[in-house]
Symmetry: C2
Subunit: 339 residues, 2 copies
Amino acid sequence: MTVQSMTNTDTRDVEATLRQVSELEHAGCDIVRVGIPDTEAAEALSAIVSGSNIPVIADLHFDWRLAFLVMEQGIAGIRLNPGTITKKDRVAEIATEAAARGLAVRVGVNAGSLERSHATEGGGRVEAAALAASALEGAELMSAKGVTNLKISVKASDVRRTIEAYRLVSEQSEWPLHIGVTEAGTPWSGTIKSAVGIGALLAEGIGDTIRVSLTAPPVEEIRVGRKILASLGLVSAGPDVISCPTCARSDIDVIDLATRVEKALEGYKTPLKVAVMGCVVNGPGEAREADIGIAGGREGALLFVKGEMVRRVQPDDMYEELIAEVKKLLRKSGEGEGV
Amino acid sequence: MTVQSMTNTDTRDVEATLRQVSELEHAGCDIVRVGIPDTEAAEALSAIVSGSNIPVIADLHFDWRLAFLVMEQGIAGIRLNPGTITKKDRVAEIATEAAARGLAVRVGVNAGSLERSHATEGGGRVEAAALAASALEGAELMSAKGVTNLKISVKASDVRRTIEAYRLVSEQSEWPLHIGVTEAGTPWSGTIKSAVGIGALLAEGIGDTIRVSLTAPPVEEIRVGRKILASLGLVSAGPDVISCPTCARSDIDVIDLATRVEKALEGYKTPLKVAVMGCVVNGPGEAREADIGIAGGREGALLFVKGEMVRRVQPDDMYEELIAEVKKLLRKSGEGEGV
């Protein structure tokens, strides 16, 4: 399962674009997409491809001539939107060329730019079935022209419509699916819409690669995307902090402790469950199931390591003691410096 | 579809608890739960019930005697965790009393406190099937004693296990389900885990009431919960901003504009789609589908109202012009002061 993002730098600025590609790679991005608004951007691609450690995909719209120029730049694949390249014969030619070069092709349909032949008459709401039909038609054309490394996406900004469109494509074809909710919005609401839409599809076994769309620096998309995948056990995203919401029973300051622990563990790669629990209702149970856990109690908190209660600690020492144990486990797996 | 949260004040402090209940209600909380650690907390309940405009549920653990005291306080219902009230005959007595009083009962099983009779031998990982079995056994007992307003929950901190447990309960029974991922963590990761788990279940048609568990002030749980429901069209959460992630094509500063627009619309109740789009790929399509939309372009942005392009605006005027149109629509629906 892979996570993608898209640069938002000016593609013609190779240095700025490669800086962002490198940031994305370090955040865990597996594939990066680059917008190609003009010839100059297309020509900048070969330098971007040379400088990138992860596959570069070119995002094409409108100008079919750019597609041919772009395919000469050493890219890993192209994203084609059937709705923005209106000349069908040109799409067929692009497909033939992509097939000859062994490039990956994503047929990426989007509710905001659905091709006219599939749009509802009168320009009403774009339906899930129309998104699916347009994508399948595009994919069949690609396939007929010899493209084998083929992906489909059918994104809408409406979460339910997105889920419905992907379910339809998944029922009607076997092609791998790139999933995501398009134009999901700002970091807070975009994260929720993306987690609901992508999470729902993944939980049904639909989806092979994901892209979280946020109106935010692209590296945020990767953080959220990896967390979505990690929450379903599809990638390891390093340490995971399990912490209770606190209630009238809480004997310790869980909000403060959990926040500090999560901050201290940011950037580590070892999959580790750390439980920070306020009281004795679910505390000992969760703390015991975690690799390391702490459960509040009236006479000091209980510290657990690998399922065993190791000692009772005083509130003032909780953070230090917990982090000391985490450090030990991280060291065992070759990490742990600097925690 | 309803959203719940739980107070984290000291329940014995009626004033502080009622202040939080009121905050929760204003954020859109439909049902509030209160922890009852001791007799004094149980006795504070009747004042809390009197002062609350939303139903109050008492959260019971360990001390079965408290259950009887609690049920005399005018509450709407109780949450019972079969794993923390170990004496089966006492659970039956509580059920009989709850039935006689016509109270709602939630059988709330939690992976951190699964009853011993269902736990894996040797204390290993708590499986989804064990969570489901414990909850169904508890619900059957409640039902046998005459409880009719019955809900079930089977929460784990692991998202996939939570989804599996609810799927099992949903296949095996007809009782309404209270869904959520327990101890999901800090605002960032807890929001993602909750949106994935709750979203996946709701997208499958599972779930009747939700609770987002965050290690954060409870009002945050309501904001996230309502956004999850709104993303699937299950409640209206007021204005929704659709905004693109920006890319090399973007002709306007989408991040800044979308963030300001979302901030300005916070707290409004009218369901309104506002699209903030950077370029002409999906911009005009999304802007046209939204109630109000703006799409960046090289010669000024295009402003759309109810599907019609109304005028071209200059970058410096985008925010003012967009908000002016939003204001008009809000006024039509009886809101709009102060935007």
